[in-house]
Every structure is written in C-alpha cells, then in structure tokens.
Symmetry: C2
Subunit: 194 residues, 2 copies
C-alpha cells in the first residue's frame, strides 16, 4: 500500500541485474505501490555494458523506500568504497521492509554493514572475492536467492528475476507472483543444454 520500491543504480551496474527485477516489480505493483530508479546524481548513468539510463531520483530527493534493491556489476568494486552510497543505503535500509541485492550487489550491502552476521549469496564467480572482504559472511553457493531476516540476496544476473518474483509473493501473495510470471511469460527454456 503506497510502497516505494527503489532500484539503486550506479556507473557499471550490470543491466539485467536490475532491469529483470524492475520488469517483475513494475508489473506487480498495485495498491499505489511504485518502482523508482535512484542514483547518486542527476544525469545519465552508464551501465556495465554501456546502457545509458536516466534515474527518477537522486539520493537527495529520493523518498523513503520500502524496498531497496542494489544490483551487481563491476561498478560494485568502486561503489563499495563510496561513503555517500553506503550512508544512503544504511539510512534507507533502517526503515525498509526489505533490503535486497542481485549478483555482486552483495559486495555493496556487505561494505555498508548490512550483511553482518547474515547468510547471503552473490555471483558464483565471486564467492572467494567476497570472502576476502567479509570473512565471517556465511555464503550459500547453491541457492538462487537467500533470505535472512528482511535481507534478500540473489545469485548472479538473471537470478534477480526469480528473487523479484519471490518478493512479489511476499509483498502481495503467491498467486499474484504466478500471474506476473505468466504475464512476462517466464517459462524459461535455455537452448543448448549440456
């Protein structure tokens, strides 16, 4: 009910990491809920694969968020040291119903202290790297997404779609999530099986 779901982007964020959940969540929104794309500053944000996107809000004019989503991408390695981003996330997460990441977005949540004492996941190629930053983090290499309290971390890139569908089931109900899955025709059939 009148929730604001904020997708926090930055330069070199991986495009599908957040556009997958964006698609799921914008389709799912009802009862006055909405999705906004947020970045530190005005002007185009350039993704890891070169897509240029205009955010809806900057950190300064961003409304309180009920759901926070941080995507991954090579830009996370810089952003994990961005004190402005970390403070923004901490402040938003404090009141948010859910705080989430996709892929190496977990690096940013970790750096902000939001994964302390939690189980989590990240892109399969980056488990060891994340452990060097946060040796105490309990990582689950087999999960598509991990829920610990109100923090949800998804595995690499496309796992954000599954995590977002799960979240729709929590924000509304599983039947609504099934409807959205059907609408985006998410009945995957990857070619070239091993």
């Amino acid at each position: 009910m009148n929730r604001t779901i904020g997708i926090v982007i930055f330069d070199d964020a991986e495009e599908l990491d957040w556009v997958g959940p964006f698609e799921v969540l914008t389709n799912a929104c009802k009862d006055g809920d909405r999705v906004v794309v947020v970045a530190e500053s005005e002007g185009p944000v350039r993704g890891a694969k070169g897509l240029r996107v205009l955010p809806d809000h900057t950190f300064d004019d961003c409304p309180p968020l009920d759901v926070v989503l941080v995507p991954g991408g090579i830009g996370t390695r810089k952003e994990m040291h961005n004190e402005v981003l970390r403070s923004f996330l901490l402040a938003q997460a404090e009141r948010a119903e859910w705080t989430t990441s996709v892929c190496t977005g977990a690096f940013v949540l970790s750096a902000a202290g939001l994964l302390k004492g939690k189980r989590a996941t990240t892109h399969w190629l980056t488990f060891d790297e994340l452990r060097t930053h946060d040796p105490d983090l309990e990582l689950d290499p087999d999960a598509r997404w991990v829920v610990d309290g109100n923090v949800v971390t998804a595995a690499g890139v496309s796992a954000g779609i599954d995590m977002a569908l799960w979240l729709v089931g929590q924000l509304y109900d599983p039947d609504h999530a099934r409807l959205i899955q059907k609408y985006i025709q998410y009945d995957p059939a990857p070619p070239y099986q091993d």
Copy 2:
C-alpha cells in the same frame, strides 16, 4: 566479425523484452562485434514501465546492422503504423544476417511486411490480435521462439533471453552460448510453482 547488432527501441517498448537480449548479446560479443541501441530520434526514450534510456544512434546516423532486434510492449500498436520506423526496418533487414523480434515486436515486423509467408510467434495474450492484422500469418503458440529463414520471433518478454542465447549459438557456436548462459547464471528457478 565486426558485426553491429541493433536493438531498436521506441516509447512504450517493454523494458525486459530488449534488456534481456541486450545483456546476453553484449556479453557474447567478440571479434569486434558490438551492440547498439537505436531510436528514431535523439533524447530519452520512455519504456512501457517508465524507464528512460538514451539511444546510441538515431535512424539517421545508424550504421548498417547485421542483426536487428525489435522488442514488444504496448508501444508496438502505435509503432506498427510508423512509416519512418517501417522503412528503417525494411532497409536494415534487407542486408541483415538476422532480423528478430521479442513479444509483440512481431506486430511491427508484420506491419513492415517482414513476416509475409512466415511462421512466427508473439506474446501468448496477443495471438488473436496479431491475426486480425495479418490473417495469413502462421503462428506457433507452443514455441519459445520460432526460426523461419533468417527471421526469428520470440514469445513474450522473458523469452527474448532464450532467443538471444540461441542466436549466440548461431553467430558464434553453442559452446559460447553455454558460456554466456553460465556467466549470467541463467539457471532459472521460478518460485511458487503451480
């Protein structure tokens, strides 16, 4: 080798329809190949769910395309009557190695005459609607994507990811497609099964 893959966007194009393939294809590109986002005019294009994107090229300065991809979205119902877009697509498709659509992007290909005498698919909700525009079109309601000659049409929204992976197997080889699938961790696990 030095291919240009063009993703043609327009107002009210559905975001995941084209960002899914964008992610797959940008990750797959090698040998000087690249992906560009193309729109009729300069300035932000606003997607069906409100995402504002800056194109890399306009129709006027777009290089010759080797692969053309047209996404769906509610905007297709207007764009199918856009003579400038149809002429652009016809000219590009004439030389392209592959011409493709995702979801109701098939409405635009059909309106441009590019599906004449072909088998195709579209979003599952829009089969009857597409038949009213193109009664002779042979639609396959069960396929995730349909290949007819060098025209490939994908089913709704997320089906573009599968189609793009298939295309990577054709442009390069199936092993490369499997590598990209693994990189984007496309091992889908939708929650809330029936």
